[in-house]
């Protein structure tokens, strides 16, 4: 892509403040961004780096309770931070468009997709309603949406996530803007879906020569999309360079550390000795949701052994979390059985004894909803101890402190905090601590790292690994992230549509020849190599042909 001499967008020493505890605290601390016509800039960084704020800033927009506190945003010669509402408003859609992270949440549930698509082209008098619709349909077609003539006339909730994400990209294109801000457009998607969306976005950006700012936390993804990459941290730039050099020769340590994330793998463990009874085993369980015909779990059998990790992989809807829920007794299986140390376990958790409940514990994906926001850490961790193990008074406090130590949180500092006073990673640690407090045999980790930044996730994985060895725990590790599986699994179970398509030791599963679905999954995981996307797409073309 050729660079025009006059940049389309120039942000100089951009500063944005946010109102927290009604004090104005800086979010973006003087960032410079220059974007040429037809250029794609990747903004990368962990949560709190100010990526999105900058992205929105490029549109001259700040969220409620934020304000421009310094610097300038020049878009095609117009200074946006000082421009009046009207001017800024008129730029939007027509010249600058935005693609949000969650399309599902960002489409208005009350209107049909196509009406939302055509709203502004028509209002701004760029085309007639009829033309706008025609155009929308053709865009849908280009973005490979299934039956483009019809899909626009559905409501958002009737369309799948991946398709919505593409529909939103189409909507952004509606007025053929000069600049599109992509704010983590694929983060919420499964890998196999992500790959389609990525290709769609890239194709359309190339075709219309639109400039774009692509915001993500996923290096591999940005590697595919961006011409240049800017790494951000705590609201200021770490370094900026064109993609190739950034990937091959990062200068700053922080960047290096980001690059280095995927180095961790758990130590290899001895194979399970013959005839050793598993801590918990699922025996051909089948489960259905009440009032639904087709089973959500179909004939699933898994053994969980002490000290070992079974990773259950699959995309959303593959039934991995459902398996966990059945095991927990939240969705009692209709057939098949669950055994705890060889003894049969009641299918419904209400019928299980304290001891039985104690021995299987679960760590939830969203630490935010998993911790009662109104309880202090002391109570969150302390309760299972009191409840299962009858600990009280000093003894209890001791245990809590010890546990906080083991999850690498300074007791004095944290014991009396509320969840809201913790970072995402810390919350997840507390979630882990709560399960450990029960001294369980099997711990179910449901997507425990997927909501976290890579460095943080890394830390959590290490912690889990350490704890497993200390307490000889059995893990059921549910995730859609292959790299995580690579890192910590001993056995792998691949699920699709409620069925196990493949299961066995990690090395066996992740070595060719792959089962077809496993192959698809593996190939869909983005790689750092900027050419990865093209390669995969070609291969698949080839396969189809």
């Amino acid at each position: 892509m050729t660079q025009d001499t006059t940049p389309l967008l120039m942000m100089q020493n951009l500063q944005i403040e946010g109102l927290s505890e009604d004090r104005w605290t800086p979010i973006v601390k003087g960032v410079d961004v220059t974007l040429g016509k037809g250029e794609v800039l990747g903004l990368i960084g962990e949560s709190g780096a100010g990526k999105s704020t900058i992205g929105l800033g490029a549109m001259g927009y700040v969220r409620d309770g934020c304000r421009f506190s310094g610097g300038t945003v020049h878009f095609d010669g117009i200074e946006l931070t000082t421009a009046d509402r009207e001017t800024r408003r008129n730029l939007r859609s027509t010249r600058i468009a935005y693609v949000a992270q969650s399309a599902a949440a960002s489409f208005n549930p009350a209107f049909k997709l196509i009406d939302q698509h055509t709203e502004f082209p028509v209002r701004r008098g760029l085309m007639s309603r009829k033309e706008a619709r025609q155009d929308a349909i053709s865009l849908y077609r280009q973005l490979q949406l299934p039956n483009p003539e019809e899909i626009g006339f559905r409501y958002p909730h009737q369309v799948s996530g991946g398709q919505l994400q593409r529909a939103m990209t189409a909507m952004a294109m509606a007025c053929r803007p000069d600049l599109i801000i992509f704010d983590e457009p694929t983060t919420a998607l499964d890998v196999t879906t992500q790959i389609e969306v990525l290709s769609a976005i890239r194709e359309i950006v190339d075709q219309f020569g639109t400039s774009a700012i692509y915001i993500t936390h996923d290096l591999a993804v940005v590697a595919q999309m961006a011409d240049r990459i800017t790494v951000l941290r705590h609201g200021s730039e770490v370094e900026s360079a064109d993609t190739a050099s950034m990937l091959n020769a990062p200068q700053e340590d922080y960047t290096k550390s980001l690059w280095a994330v995927r180095s961790f793998t758990s130590a290899k463990k001895a194979a399970v000795s013959e005839g050793q009874t598993p801590v918990v085993s699922l025996k051909t369980i089948t489960a259905t949701y009440p009032g639904m015909g087709k089973p959500v779990l179909d004939d699933v059998s898994i053994d969980f052994h002490a000290g070992r990790t079974v990773a259950v992989v699959g995309e959303s809807g593959s039934g991995k979390s459902t398996t966990a829920r059945s095991l927990m007794g939240l969705l009692p299986p209709v057939s098949g059985g669950i055994e705890l140390g060889g003894a049969p376990l009641a299918p419904d958790f209400r019928k299980r004894s304290k001891a039985e409940l104690q021995s299987v514990q679960m760590i939830y994906q969203m630490a935010d909803t998993a911790l009662n926001p109104k309880q202090r850490i002391r109570d969150i961790i302390g309760r299972p101890m009191t409840y299962y193990r009858g600990l009280k008074g000093r003894q209890l406090t001791e245990e809590i402190r010890a546990l906080l130590h083991s999850i690498e949180l300074e007791p004095d500092q944290y014991i009396n905090r509320l969840p809201s006073e913790l970072s995402g990673g810390q919350k997840q640690r507390i979630g882990i601590a709560r399960t450990l407090a029960a001294a369980p045999k099997l711990v179910i980790c449901d997507e425990v790292t997927s909501a976290l930044d890579q460095l943080v996730a890394e830390g959590i994985l290490r912690l889990l690994d350490k704890l497993q060895r200390d307490h000889d725990l059995a893990y059921m590790f549910i995730t859609h992230d292959i790299s995580t599986v690579r890192a910590i699994a001993d056995e792998v179970v691949v699920m699709q549509q409620g069925q196990i398509v493949e299961q066995g030791p990690k090395d066996q599963i992740f070595a060719p020849p792959f089962a077809p679905y496993t192959g698809l999954l593996l190939s869909s995981v983005p790689e750092m190599d900027p050419t990865w996307l093209d390669r995969v797409l070609c291969d698949r073309e080839a396969k189809r042909a």
Binding site: R63, D64, R89, T94, A100, N108, Y155, Q158
Partner: protein, 318 residues
């Protein structure tokens, strides 16, 4: 679409069940009331002999359950029975008053509902401005004053001081619509003042709650103006809560007008109901309460259906 119909039927059935329960509750509480029709009618002049005679005449000497069953049986065949005291058929007794009450309530609603919604939208549009705050305070003051007092104030202002409207709604049978409106203006105003605030606050609140949602931020980022944001993008998603509150208030309008009726001497259901309770006129109280309960249930049903219709997620399944 047809699941909507199924729901409608289900809810209707449920409503009928509720009505039955209501009739039982009313009957029982009237049974529990101290004294009976006979004593209430004869009042001070009650003597054992004429009490007994009276009871015989009305069949009050029969056990409670037989009386209930006979009433219920009649009710099922559409026979509302007769007033225990005046002996008039309930239909005759109620028809006109019901019409009056509905007329008054409808009149008030016609003013109150649009007013409330508009004010709510305006308040949300200019939220935290002086305008918003003023609307809010005025509305709050309106609901915080006892109804009858609101009535008196209006009378003082518009009837006594300005002499614009009559202080009592003395309707003649053959009153023209214009005359009716003129005579029921003050009561209608009173009711309007009472119900507007609640609806307006809910409209404002539910709109503002939406503003934090991603798809409204998206609308902003697409370049929608404040007005368009609220009216076009937010309002359709706020219909459900607003309609619910409207339903509650409409039901209140029809049911809760008793006091306003007393102040303005308006011949509506409320007065009749209070009298009949006082006189223990079971059949009248029973029918009136059922009618009220029915309106309440219907309004809720309607609001539910509207909410569903307004929400594509519920209207068009995947």
């Amino acid at each position: 679409m047809q699941h909507l119909f199924r729901l409608f039927v289900q809810r209707l059935a449920l409503g009928l069940l509720t009505l039955f329960a209501v009739s039982l509750v009313i009957f029982l509480s009237i049974e529990l009331l101290p004294g009976d029709v006979a004593q209430q009618v004869l009042g001070q002049s009650a003597t054992p002999e004429n009490l007994a005679a009276f009871r015989r005449e009305l069949g009050l000497d029969q056990p409670a359950y037989t009386r209930y069953l006979s009433w219920f049986g009649g009710f099922l065949q559409g026979d509302l029975g007769h007033s225990l005291i005046s002996g008039l058929p309930i239909k005759e007794l109620i028809a006109e008053r019901m019409y009056n009450t509905f007329f008054l309530a409808g009149f008030a609603a016609l003013i109150a509902v649009p007013l409330a919604v508009v004010l709510g939208v305006v308040a949300a549009l200019y939220r935290d401005t002086t305008l918003d705050k003023t609307i809010n305070v005025v509305a709050l003051t309106a609901i915080s004053v006892p109804e009858f007092f609101v009535g008196y104030i209006l009378v003082w202002l518009f009837a006594v001081e300005l002499g614009l409207f009559p202080s009592i709604a003395n309707l003649s049978e053959d009153a023209s619509l214009g005359d009716r409106i003129y005579r029921t203006f003050l009561p209608a105003m009173t009711l309007t003042l009472i119900v507007t605030a609640h609806m307006m606050r809910m409209t404002r609140a539910s709109l503002i709650n939406l503003l934090a949602l991603p798809y409204l931020e998206m609308a902003r980022l697409k370049g929608a103006s404040q007005r368009r944001l609220i009216v076009i993008h937010a309002l359709p998603n706020a219909i459900a809560p607003i309609v619910t509150v409207i339903a509650i208030n409409l039901a209140y309008l029809i049911v809760g007008v008793v006091i306003v009726e007393v102040v303005f001497v308006y011949p509506g259901m409320g007065q009749l109901l209070v009298d009949s309770v006082a006189k223990r006129d079971f059949t009248v109280v029973q029918t009136a309460c059922l009618l009220f309960a029915a309106t309440y249930i219907l309004f809720n049903l309607a609001s539910d259906l509207i909410s569903i219709a307004s929400n594509p997620r519920l209207l068009h399944r995947k």
